[in-house]
């Protein structure tokens, strides 16, 4: 039987969701009987192939994030927003209280100890969006996996549910944080 193909990526995130994904530990071994990875930091494949499931961590803060997200949406049958940043903007969105100009001035012009102050403008560097956005404001998102990060059990549950052809549903213990 063909294995279910999964792609993962981190946009404006901290890779904490990926670390939590790896916290599935030995359960990953069993899971690999049923799934294989396309683009993912785990294997360093650079572009997303046609996949069954896409797991996207992090918010959208620049043009490259938008390109990557669009590639995932085009190639993944099911797209899952993983973690607080992907769902709400999270920590990266804290800059939304300031203008982009204020942020860049603080980092590259006004900060004490800045050498050769100028705002980087190499064409290789993706331009920043004026505000940080959650994924669902730019593409259609099928499921949301909440948490900062979502616990490993939540990854197990959502992937297992999808493998079994069920509508994913997280039990209260996994969603209850305090």
């Amino acid at each position: 039987m063909r294995k279910v193909r999964v792609a993962t990526t981190s946009l404006a995130g901290c890779f904490g969701c990926h670390m939590s994904f790896l916290d599935m530990d030995e359960r990953l071994v069993g899971l690999l009987e049923h799934i294989e990875f396309s683009r993912s930091p785990i294997n360093d494949i650079k572009h997303c192939e046609p996949c069954d499931i896409g797991l996207v961590e992090g918010a959208l803060c620049n043009a490259d994030n938008v390109h990557v997200l669009r590639e995932f949406r085009q190639n993944c049958k099911i797209l899952i927003a993983v973690g607080a940043c992907a769902i709400n903007g999270g920590v990266p969105a804290m800059r939304n209280h300031f203008t982009l100009e204020e942020c860049l001035n603080e980092a590259f012009l006004d900060e004490i100890g800045v050498d050769n102050p100028h705002i980087p403008n190499d064409v290789e560097i993706p331009l920043l969006l004026s505000k940080v956005h959650p994924l669902h404001e730019v593409v259609h998102v099928d499921y949301y996996l909440p948490g900062c990060p979502p616990p490993a059990d939540a990854f197990v549950k959502i992937i297992t549910d999808l493998l079994e052809g069920k509508e994913p549903s997280l039990p209260r213990e996994i969603l209850h944080y305090d």
Partner: protein
């Protein structure tokens, strides 16, 4: 700014019924004096009123009429209601005066912003100038206002007729058409005694006129039976539902009946103190209301030993709000009376057992109390001879919108909507919002429905939309209203009303897809089901009503694709392009 420390109370209104030691009143005085609440005054005020600093800070932030930074010496707030608002006039004036909305002009002379419905729907467009009401605005009038602002003419010297508010009573009914003889309800009450009077009110079938329709007699009975150190009567004059202005008429022309209803309630439930919570937008009526109370004191209808009865004491105090729709909800109103932000309480316990200062409290609408006073004189049978099966008596309506004679109309319950439309000269009507944004939007097919609690309930708002109106635009206005007025206490309402607003905006600006409509429906159901109080529970109504009755209003605007982003991606890179001086292919999306 240090000079404001311990600033003396500045109100010249201090009377037996308006106290300067209420936080809302002190903040109002500071706002009037300095155009904002100076940070340096907050500590002294908190100490003087023996309130926690955090509470004072929270109250300043909660109410729309208090500001942390200075507004203009003339602060104009244009109503943004669909009936008494016209924001194109606001934008014209902003341009004329060189003002950015919500920002004070550099010279400090003027600031211009928006306010939720200010209750002038029968004589709009309207605005508040330093809290005073100007109605029937025209481009010419705005020109005259602009000239006076540029000439630094104080508002007190603007022509008095600009501030005139008309009653516009178009149709008298059971209450408005029956002359009320001052004192007659109390004389009747003393003759019959409290228990008999209570039975009379119960027998009359009177139900709350604020919209919810709870039996007034039962409310009084529960409160009378509740034990406590003191009992209180509260008159809810925080008429904030957009399109409602019928209490304005009762307060300006029938204040004796209203105050007498309060006193009667005090007699029945055994209260010695009553409060009227007057919406900040109606502050212009305060001097006259205080004068009425003073007259009642002289007539021995208020104060100690009322009508010579040594055991009948009752005082009335007026507390003026500061621009918060949520304070119309009875428990939020009580919180506001207790010098806090207007966050609704968990109910039960209901105010009848634990209300103001945790004591048994009756909170009644202005119209309910006026009706109770009439019932005391004429009897329950006189009242319930009118109306429908489950809705006795009459209802005073505030009719506004697209009709020839907007104003106040009183009808017996059971009157058909079409009859009302005929009376006010409304033709080619597309839809009516009955009961304000939190009520029901009805289509022409429903115009034979009846005005009644069992059919179409309303707190008094009746907004008519003619054929030329864009209904989606109307609903967009309501969505903005609820997002602005949500008190922020519970997440479903705080976040949900904003998501609903964003969703309607997206569709209204031509960026919505069928997916967005489905999301809107899902979110509306969630906000309705999960919100803490009536605000959130009713905020999605206009959207759901429009979806059900006028689906075309949405469908006409939809983009036929699977998904549209919520914002313009390429535009979102514009600031970065400017800062990096880039315009290459990679600098666009």
């Amino acid at each position: 700014m240090n000079s404001v420390q311990g600033a003396a109370p500045t109100s010249d209104l201090t009377s037996a019924s308006y106290h300067d030691d209420h936080l809302l009143h002190r903040l109002y005085a500071l706002q009037q004096q300095f155009q904002h609440i100076p940070a340096s005054s907050i500590g002294a005020l908190a100490a003087e009123l023996c309130l926690p600093l955090a509470q004072v800070e929270a109250v300043i932030d909660f109410y729309s009429f208090f500001h942390r930074t200075a507004r203009g010496r003339v602060d104009l707030l244009f109503s943004n209601c669909t009936s008494c608002g016209d924001l194109s006039l606001m934008h014209d004036l902003c341009q004329r005066l060189g003002v950015v909305p919500e920002q004070t002009r550099a010279d400090g002379a003027v600031s211009i912003g928006e306010a939720s419905c200010i209750g002038m729907c029968d004589q709009g467009p309207a605005l508040l100038a330093n809290g005073r009401t100007l109605t029937q605005l025209t481009p010419l009038r705005l020109e005259q206002i602009a000239e006076r602002i540029e000439a630094s003419t104080p508002i007190e010297q603007w022509p008095a007729e600009w501030f005139h508010v008309h009653d516009n009573v178009r149709k008298n009914g059971l209450l408005l058409g029956t002359t009320f003889s001052t004192g007659s309800a109390l004389v009747a009450a003393l003759e019959k005694g409290a228990q008999t009077m209570l039975d009379e009110i119960i027998a009359s079938g009177l139900r709350g006129r604020g919209g919810a329709g709870f039996s007034t007699g039962m409310k009084w009975k529960f409160c009378r039976e509740a034990t406590g150190d003191a009992h209180y009567v509260v008159c809810n004059a925080d008429e904030g539902e957009p399109g409602t202005f019928k209490d304005r008429i009762l307060l300006s022309s029938h204040a004796h009946a209203v105050f007498e209803g309060m006193t009667l309630c005090g007699y029945v439930i055994g209260a010695k103190k009553g409060y009227m919570y007057l919406r900040g937008e109606y502050r212009y009526m305060l001097p006259e209301l205080l004068a009425v109370l003073e007259r009642r004191r002289k007539l021995k209808l208020l104060g100690t030993a009322i009508l010579g009865q040594s055991d009948f004491d009752f005082e009335i105090e007026i507390i003026v709000g500061a621009g918060a729709y949520i304070c119309g909800e009875e428990s939020a109103l009580i919180e506001s009376m207790e010098q806090k932000g207007g966050v609704p309480r968990v109910r039960p316990p209901f105010p009848v057992t634990q209300g103001f200062l945790a004591q048994p409290t009756v909170v009644n609408n202005v119209e309910t109390l006026a009706a109770a006073a009439h019932i005391a004189v004429h009897g329950g049978g006189w009242f319930n001879a009118h109306g429908s099966d489950k809705s006795d008596g009459s209802k005073i309506l505030s009719v506004s919108g697209d009709c020839t004679t907007p104003g106040v109309y009183e009808y017996p319950f059971g009157t058909s909507i079409q009859r009302i439309l005929d009376d006010c000269g409304a033709e080619h009507v597309q839809a009516i919002q009955v009961g304000g944004p939190s009520g029901t939007l009805i289509a022409p097919a429903e115009f034979e429905r009846k005005l009644a609690f069992e059919d179409l309930a309303t707190g008094g708002s009746f907004m008519i939309y003619g054929a030329q109106r864009d209904l989606l635009h109307v609903i967009q206005n309501f969505a903005h209203f609820f997002a602005h007025e949500s008190c922020g206490f519970c997440t479903p309402c705080r976040v949900g009303t904003t998501l609903l607003k964003n969703g309607v905006d997206k569709i209204a600006t031509g960026h919505g897809t069928q997916y967005d409509v489905d999301e809107l429906r899902r979110m509306a159901a969630l906000v309705k089901r999960r919100s803490h109080c009536g605000l959130g529970q009713t905020a999605p109504n206009p959207i759901l009503d429009l979806l059900q009755r006028f689906p075309q209003a949405f469908e006409d605007r939809l983009v036929h694709s699977d998904f549209e982003p919520h914002f313009d991606l390429d535009k979102s890179l514009q600031e970065a392009r400017r800062l990096t001086h880039r315009d290459d292919a990679e600098a666009h999306l």
